[in-house]
Amino acid sequence: MKNNTADKIVWAKKDLLGLEYLSREEIEVILYTAQSFKEVTTRQIKKVPALRGKTVVNLFYEPSTRTRASFELAAKRLSADVINIEVEASSVKKGETLIDTGRNIEALKIDIIVVRHNCSGAPNILARSVKSSVVNAGDGWHEHPTQALLDMFTLKSKLGHIEGLRVSIIGDIAHSRVARSNIWGMTKLVAEVTVCAPPMLIPEGIEKMGVKVTSDLDEALKNTDAINVLRMQFERDTQKAFPTKLEYFKQYGITDQRLKKCKKDIVVMHPGPINRGIEMSSDVADGANSVILEQVTNGIAVRMAVLYLVAHAKREIVA
């Protein structure tokens, strides 16, 4: 990463909606900023006054524990005030619309809305309806930018760089926002990305995102520097795609045996929560190559960076 250029760039975006909408330089600014916040999270007193007097609202339309906790801690460590709002999203329920909810929250004179929603594009719609910053904490199958940022941050801290790395994303690509954000982010930082899934879980036209596509796990693991293993959710569409969970594990589960055939220092990532024995065996999840818990730790630094940057959008960033 070009640290010397990163600190000269002015962050201009009020929102973080997805990595599709960011340039390589902007992604690097976030990762660079996260590096300095990482140091804060290791201090005895884990708090800086960077967002003192600012208010962050976690607006969650979908249940989430880890992402919400991570955002909440990130905001608190920046000395922001935080409130959490949980809403049930439904087209049938004659509740308040997303836009009305956003405007009402904004009327409370807050600064940043962190939104998690089961509909793709909900953060985009919210962002153009409010003046506050909007940070996407995961929307439908669309994007989960902070997850991909923390994956890249973790990978970079393990292997020193992203450019030129071979990264394979394995699992239900079709219904994964983590996959999409990872693909945008990693390809922008010039990693070589492969996606691997059963044919029915490979979405239409995914190769146009600049990735290799395979349904053969061995091919996806061969010579790869890192794997990002997705949580398999056996729901409506995924159920059709696979006969049994055991069969999925046999064909696509990451096991110690399979890992032995890979590069020795292969980095194993997972966005959590893990289904042990479905997409990954316990010995891999808890093994030497796994960085799963580091990802969780790094998530706070990355989210601190994102909150900090959007709150100071269009102001000169002094790193």
Binding site: T97, I99, H117, S120, G121, N124, G140, H142, P203, E204
Partner: protein, 432 residues
Amino acid sequence: MKYLIKNGRVIDPASKIDDMIDIIIADGKIVEIGKDLNLKSSETIDAKGKIVAPGFVDMHTHLREPGREDKETIKSGSRAAIRGGFTSVVCMPNTEPPIDNSGVVKLVKDIIKKDALCNVFVVGAITQVRAGKRLTNISQMKKEGIIAVSDDGSCIEDKSLMLGALKDCKKDAILLIDHCEDIRISSGGVMNKSFISTKMGLRGMPKEAEYIMVKRDIDLAEKASSRIHIAHVSCKESVELIRKAKRDNVEVTAETAPHYFALTEECCVTYDTNTKMNPPLRTKEDVEFIKKALADGTIDAIATDHAPHTDSEKDVEFDFAPFGIIGLETALSLSVMELIDKKVLSWPDLISRMSTNPAKILGIDRGNLKKGSTADIVIIDPLKEYIYNKDSVESKSKNSPFINWKLKGKLCDVFVRGKVVMRDESIVVGSS
């Protein structure tokens, strides 16, 4: 009242006229058409530099009355029709209650008689409550005045029921208009299935959902020796199937809507719910096929699929928004810009797709400028450019992706049954 329309370029594909001639209107009829006409006791309308054509016929309109008068009424919808040059519109039966029996047909006809500012023709449902389970009493509804049947918005899944419906329509000599969608394939999709839907994380509706049903309908119509009309054709494969069926002498006709040749799926990327329609916006390649099909006559008609929805229904998550956009007021301009200016259609061809052909398919005595015909006439300024702004929209609903677009080609004057309903771009009947 008598009118003399002078100095215009008169285009009437039905009589193969494209000439600088004059028209005299009296007692609701065209009484004279020819060169250098004069009439003392009439109002003269100078159509210099303008095109004079039979009023447009929209085969596919949702007027929402009865039941959803918050979206549109027969009055507001017919005002929008006039603004767009449609002197006749055909209203679809997916109202609340649906137009699925002669009682509702009569109710709607009564509202039309009272409120409509243009000709409004009624379509009845094919199946009771549009549920795709049992046929409606088509012949009784026909006696009450419906001119076609359709379950538009839904597609009859049951093939034997569909075959039965086609046979009934043959017996009753009435047109069946089908919305072709295999809902098992479209399965809750909200836009075209492609790289774009993948990157947006939206559930896709693949083209198969449309053309597999087009194929089925053609086969069943052939089996029933019946006519069939395919609504809102949006993709290449449907075009190819219809083209082949026509060659094989199956009695199939088809329409498309302006958004299927003016927009592509790329327009969806901002999650603007005014780009959400069913069938969905497709790819550039599909747009090219739709244009070719309009040029070679595979697609007979341009219909709007005018589908009003309120702002509060549309200002929601993309997944939750209803399908459809309003289209009556923009159809001509989009056709001028995409079809005339891009040399896809000549003016006479465009008039035939918007007036002559739909009138012929529906079997209504409209869409021509023959002496003695009902004087439904439009006068168009083909070069006039304007900004289509929200305040100017006549429809009760404003759900259009073309708001704030610079458009070209505008209606100046409109006659319905010999009466001036729009004069110099101002609607002069009914109160808004």
